[in-house]
Every structure is written in C-alpha cells, then in structure tokens.
C-alpha cells in the first residue's frame, strides 16, 4: 500500500502531498493508505538521456482515488483498466499484478 495525504477539513486526498489543500485551503492533513490503483496509461521507456536501455522500463499512471493519480513502475506491459497493487520498494513506487 502507499500513503496519500488527506485534508482534515474536507477529506480531499492528495498525492504528492501539499502544504495547503487546493480544494478548501486547509493546512492540516492526515495519512491515508491506498492498496491499489487502476491503470489509465502505460509506456515502455526504451531510450533515455542519450542512451538505449538494456530492457524497457514500464511506467504507468494509475487512478488511486477521485482526482488522484500516481506514477509507478510496472514490471511489464499491462492492459489499461487493470487494477494493480501498489507499494513502495525503497523510494520507488511499484504497481504489481494483484495476486
């Protein structure tokens, strides 16, 4: 699961975290946890910064709550609409097939 912040005043979920809620202006937040997201897009990065990669890096954008989308590494090509489990591997946000 991953941590997203939620505004104490209005409940709005945010990722990445903010200093002030863009919806109600609140400054107080609590941590909430999200276990999964729905894939809205995925790309295979094969060339970056002047170098070809030895293996594609799959990056996806996943909807995890209303208006909240996260970017995550995916271990391979997946269908748009797939629901995937989310976790942090060290600092890297990972989306994996649900088992």
């Amino acid at each position: 699961m991953i941590e997203v912040s939620g505004c104490v005043a209005c409940g709005r979920r945010l990722f990445p975290a903010r200093l002030r809620c863009p919806l109600c202006g609140g400054f107080e937040f609590l941590a909430f946890y999200v276990e999964a997201g729905t894939v809205e897009g995925v790309t295979s990065l094969v060339h970056t910064l002047g170098q070809s990669l030895t293996a594609p890096v799959y990056l996806g954008v996943l909807l995890v709550a209303e208006n909240v989308r996260v970017l995550a590494r995916i271990d391979g090509p997946v269908e748009i609409g797939s629901v995937m489990a989310l976790s942090f591997n060290g600092e890297t946000l990972i989306a994996a097939q649900r088992t």
Partner: protein
Amino acid sequence: MTFDGAVIAGAVEVPYRRRPEGVTTLSLFRDAFRLVLADAEIDAGEVDGLAIASFSLAPDRAINLAWHLGLTLRWSMEDTHAGASGINMLQHAVRAVQCGDASVVVVVAADHQLPGDFTDMVNNFSSVARKHLAPLGYGGPNALFSLVTQAHMRKWGLAREDYGAVCMAQRAWAAGNPLAVYREPLTMDAYLNAPMVAAPLGRFDCVPLVSGADAIVVTRGRPGVRLRALRARHNFDQQDGDGLVTGLRGIAGDLWAEAGCDPAAMDLVSVYDDYPVMVLVQLADLGFVGDDVKWFIAERLAPRGLPVNTSGGQLSVGQAGAAGGLHGLVEAVTQLRGRAGGRQVPDARLAAVSGYGMVEYRYCLCANAVVLERAV
C-alpha cells in the same frame, strides 16, 4: 492597463548547436547580448534593465551576469519558469518600462548543457521530481509526455501519423531557417521508423538537447513590435487533470478580447513545442483547432495553411534549455519585422505566441500567451 509605449525593439537567436566545442553558458549570454543590442541599434550604456533565464548559469545569477557584462542596473530579474519564462520575463519587462523603473531592458536566456547536466537537472527539477520521479528512473519528461500523448490519441482518435504530420510540417518550415539544427525534409517513413523513445513517442517527437541563446530588447520610443495582449495562468488545475488542457484554455477569452481580434486574424503562431501533442493542445486551448483535431492537422497544419512554429520549432531547431522559452517569441518578432528570409510569412502583421513549462508531477504547471503586432 494597456501595453502602450513599450515595444520589442530587437530579437535574436544565437545559433543552436548540438554539443558545441568551446562554448560556455556565459559566452552564449555574451553573444546574445551583443547581437541583440546591435539588432536594436542600442548602445550597451543605455541598458538599465536585465531579465535572464538559464538552467546552467549557476552558481551565477542575474546580477553576476550583469557584472560580467559591465552593466549598472536599475532593474533586474531572474526567471525560472522554463518554457513559460520568455513571456513571463516579457510581461515583467514591459511593465518596468511602462512604469519607468527601467528604460532599456535586455531579456536574455541561454543554456549550454551536456547530457550529464540534463540528467542531474531533470532528477532535481523540483522537490517532487527528486522524491517521486527520479526514483522511478523516468529519465526526464519524455516518459511523462508519452502518457499525455496516449491520452490525447484516445480522446481524439489520432494515430502516430497525425503527430508525424505536425513534425513534418515544422521540419518543412525549418528548411527556410538557416539557424535550424535539423533542416532536411522529414518523411513519414522516417518518422514512423525512427527509434522508439517511450511509446508512442519516437525520436522525432522529442526535442533534441542543444546549446544556444535567445534575446529581445524591451524599450520605448523606438520602432518595434508592440504587444496587444498578454495573459498567464499557472497551476490552473492543481495537476488533477490528464494534461490535455493547459492554463491557456482559461485565458484565451480574455486574451483575444484584450487583443481586439480572434485566432482567425493571426498571420502566424508560435507555440511551445516540447512535444507535438503539446502543439495541438496549446493551439486547441487558444481557439485555433475546433472539434476535429484530425481534420485540423490534415487541412491546416500539414499544408502549412496556418503558419505554426515557422522557425521549425524546437522539434527542428532544438531545445536550448531555458532559451527555448524565448525561441517562439524571437521567431514571431522576426516574422513581424519581415526579417525571416526564406520562411517569411507574407505581410505578417499579427502573431500569437504561447509559453508552456515546468513539469511538476505528470505535466507542466505554467502557461502564458501574448498577441504581438507589427509596428506601423
């Protein structure tokens, strides 16, 4: 408040180059400064305002550059809004001149970056990039805008060929620009068969990293290009959207009302072209496209009936870091002064220019636009 009195009296580009030898960011700033004052026929001793943008000037700042150039200033600023920096600096410089805080402002941007510099920059572009993008191995904005492009393709029923047509049209314009890094015609086969970068983006969808500089002079009481309207909207959607709308959508109505004209009156348009999808998004937000994007590409952009990015844009000229934020502005001023040579739009009188920049998490935060008019 109108823009009366202030004019853009000079505009130059120091030729962009791929990995040039013997160049530094400071030398590019020097060259742009010297060239733009010559272009405007203004003596350096008259300059009392300086606005700069650069990713690679650090640890120097605007005032350090002023010292290097021997300038004594009444007004100084440094802008960090990347693809929106050119119009942002123009916005401030015009007001400074109108209000008397400065009389001659040189607005200049330059960058000389090597691939290693670029890697460091994109991984530390912001606190969010450092914490949430760099660990993904995202490698810069290509991966992010591949996702934006995918969403755009789904929304409008477009194919890779449609974005190829955008790139080909700009390359055709570049053929008339001796300063463009890439001038040879681009074919659809070459576009489609180029190495993939991040699906669906291939090599020709991604701006090549170059070194270069751009500059304009803002002053009053001289011949020059004048502003009809300028508007900006930054962080308009809190990054809640899909990246297919920019802040330009919200300012277009006021922009055209202030300008006293509409998109159909424009003789040319410069939009910030880090990726072809963003060319289409900005043109749509400004009111040039209508409801049929595919038709617009085939009937207006591809045959170059609507002159868009007539320099060839950054997709052909290259992206010189923060200088890219001034590139479209310099091209529009060059066209309105009738100095565009083989790519000159006949009798160009009005131009629209937009800026777009500053990736936060999934797309950019900043957008602005200006309508320019040839001096009569």
